[in-house]
């Protein structure tokens, strides 16, 4: 079977003239080589394509080409009502579905001036931190795999199943949970939730120590990561890096501390910082973040035992009546029907909310024109911004190190391209 020649060459017949200004003059005289990496490459974490200019093994410049996973999520959300478009956010950064839902719900709540009961706020924090651990586990598994520590992937995915079981327990879905809704949660936490999270709290610290050993005591790994992919604190700030990529360089900036949301200010935790700003420090910071997440979860579980109140706001303008009421009251049925078919009409306005996702600052800009659909939704996604520093990070490194550098900024292409 042969391909249609027209589509066949749509991507690959690049013209070197188009790279003028992006690569050095050497590439045009043939002194350096242009090499294409991706979009199908085992260590580009999805479908990133990088155009490399090489001199021997040394990377002279590197141009990320994104958009291979562009999904039109932001545009699609404009065609759905507010509540229905939460489904879209889960599929954006697929390692952080709860976090995406959280930032979108926070933006809606800010726009609607909707209150969230305490129980829901704490539950959100617990689940968001579980998601952070989940995301870091996948990053560790794959990042280790890229650098030759193949066992991390086996361990990480074993532990991840425990977390996915919890997500499935609360929401019915392993990954795309759509559990956070404007004003609270889809439904109350099930009774088994407490035991399952307690199991995580009991078993994970020892496991995280194991990973720490696997990584920090592995001479190959240490040699391949220390002093690689350096970025100074000033540069990291100038590039707008956030998350572990920024904290690895020693800048103390965590949205959970700087601009607390969902009552993070009532929790005690530290912000782990690196010193050298290299690949190794970014690894260490993320491992330490997992421990801090466990600390937050532990505090959260203690509070959840006391906070037995409602799990969703009772503002009937935005929140549908509970199931039990539908059997009793005709008005409730009508109201429910109206909310699910037409949706609610929020006030006009624009808001921006950001949270600390596993990869960095995840922001949501939401504009409303008073109709049941959002007028514009835009996400400030950490992967996209952090990827912009790739050129800076990988300059004058060996091509083999590039793999570790891409791993260390922890991109998710779904987050980047949306």
């Amino acid at each position: 079977m042969t391909a249609d020649p027209q589509t066949h060459h749509a991507v690959w017949e690049g013209n070197i003239e188009e790279l003028k200004g992006l690569v050095s003059e050497k590439a045009f005289s043939g002194e350096s080589m242009i090499l294409n990496m991706g979009p199908q490459h085992p260590s580009t974490h999805g479908v990133l394509r990088v155009i490399l200019e090489l001199e021997g093994e040394e990377v002279l410049s590197c141009i990320p080409d994104v958009g291979f996973l562009h999904t039109g999520i932001e545009k699609n959300m404009e065609y759905k009502t507010y509540e229905k478009s939460i489904v879209m956010t889960d599929r954006m950064d697929y390692l952080n579905p709860m976090g995406n839902g959280l930032v979108y719900c926070l933006a809606m709540e800010k726009l609607f001036e909707l209150d969230v009961p305490m129980r829901a706020q704490i539950a959100r924090i617990v689940l968001a931190e579980l998601t952070r651990i989940n995301s870091h586990l996948v990053w560790m598994g794959i990042g280790g795999l890229d650098l030759g520590v193949t066992s991390t992937m086996t361990y990480a995915f074993r532990e991840r199943e425990v977390l996915l079981d919890i997500f499935e327990m609360v929401s019915g879905q392993r990954m795309m949970s759509t559990y956070f809704r404007p004003g609270g949660l889809w439904r109350d936490l099930p009774d088994e939730f407490e035991g399952a999270v307690q199991n995580v709290l009991d078993t994970f610290p020892a496991k995280i120590d194991d990973y720490d050993k696997i990584i920090t005591q592995n001479p190959v790994f240490v040699d391949r990561t220390q002093g690689i992919g350096f970025i100074s604190a000033e540069d990291a700030v100038a590039y707008g890096l956030t998350g572990a990529a920024l904290r690895g360089s020693g800048v103390n900036w965590d949205i959970r501390k700087a601009m607390p949301y969902s009552s993070y200010e009532q929790f005690e935790f530290d912000v782990p910082l690196g010193q050298h700003g290299d690949v190794y420090d970014r690894f260490i910071v993320r491992i330490a973040e997992m421990r801090q997440s466990l600390r937050i979860i532990e505090q959260g579980m203690k509070r959840l035992q006391k906070e037995k109140g409602p799990f969703r706001s009772d503002n009937r303008k935005y929140v549908p009546p509970p199931r039990a009421e539908l059997g009793r009251s005709m008005e409730a049925v009508i109201h429910h029907f109206k909310l699910w078919t037409e949706g609610f009409r929020p006030p006009k306005g624009e808001v921006y909310v950001s949270i600390e996702g596993p990869r960095g600052e995840l922001g949501c800009f939401l504009a409303s024109d008073g109709s049941p659909n959002p007028m514009r939704v835009h996400f400030r996604t950490p992967s996209f911004v952090n990827l912009s520093a790739l050129e800076k990070l990988s300059k004058n490194h060996m091509i083999a190190d590039l793999v570790g550098i891409i791993g260390s900024i922890d991109i998710v292409l779904g987050d980047c391209d949306r």
């Binding site: 079977m1 042969t2 391909a3 249609d4 589509t7 066949h8 060459h9 749509a10 991507v11 690959w12 979009p39 199908q40 490459h41 085992p42 999805g46 479908v47 958009g67 291979f68 996973l69 562009h70 999904t71 039109g72 999520i73 545009k75 699609n76 489904v87 879209m88 599929r91 697929y94 390692l95 996948v138 992937m153 086996t154 995915f157 074993r158 991840r160 199943e161 996915l164 392993r174 990954m175 795309m176 292409l413 779904g414 391209d417």
Partner: protein
């Protein structure tokens, strides 16, 4: 008598060769390491210890399409990705199979919009569709087994190419 039994058995031998080759193909079917989106994470879970696709001889993911038998389209295919996907498919040696994993690869899923190819069967021939967003690893394994059933039914004259 010896000759006739041999001749008579010849037909049996040919069918058995067919079965033997087909069986062999189902036991060591190497998928291509090709993740696109969220479904790829579940595909990795399928490879990982808990679900352990190596029970089906499918744990060895080949990064190069030239060493792969099966393309698992794990995720949404954007219009920008479509030519790449087609090229990868063309690079795979015969016999080759395609498994569309997830709603996006099967029909566009929740993304009925300008950016996403509405079903990967617009670009490559698909053998098995696995529904779900994302499909659970069990569902993917069921997809594998369905594909194995299909391969076992193949005739020798189909081996050279479909």
């Amino acid at each position: 008598m010896g000759v006739s039994s041999k001749l008579g058995n010849l037909g049996v031998v040919t069918t058995k060769l067919e079965d033997a080759v087909n069986w062999g193909r189902t036991r060591a079917m190497w998928p291509m390491l090709f993740g696109l989106a969220c479904c790829a994470i579940e595909m990795m879970s399928t490879q990982a210890p808990y679900y352990d696709a190596s029970r089906f001889g499918m744990e060895l993911m080949r990064a190069s399409p030239r060493q792969a038998d099966l393309m698992i389209v794990a995720g949404r295919v954007s219009r920008k990705m479509a030519p790449v996907l087609r090229q990868l498919y063309d690079q795979m040696p015969e016999p080759k199979w395609v498994l569309a994993m997830g709603d996006c690869a099967s029909c566009g899923g929740v993304f009925n919009n300008y950016a996403i190819v509405q079903g990967v069967d617009e670009i490559v021939p698909v053998d098995v569709y696995v529904a779900g967003c994302p499909p659970r690893p069990e569902q993917l394994i069921h997809g594998f087994m369905t594909l194995h059933e299909k391969v076992k039914e193949m005739k020798w004259y189909e081996w050279a190419g479909k």
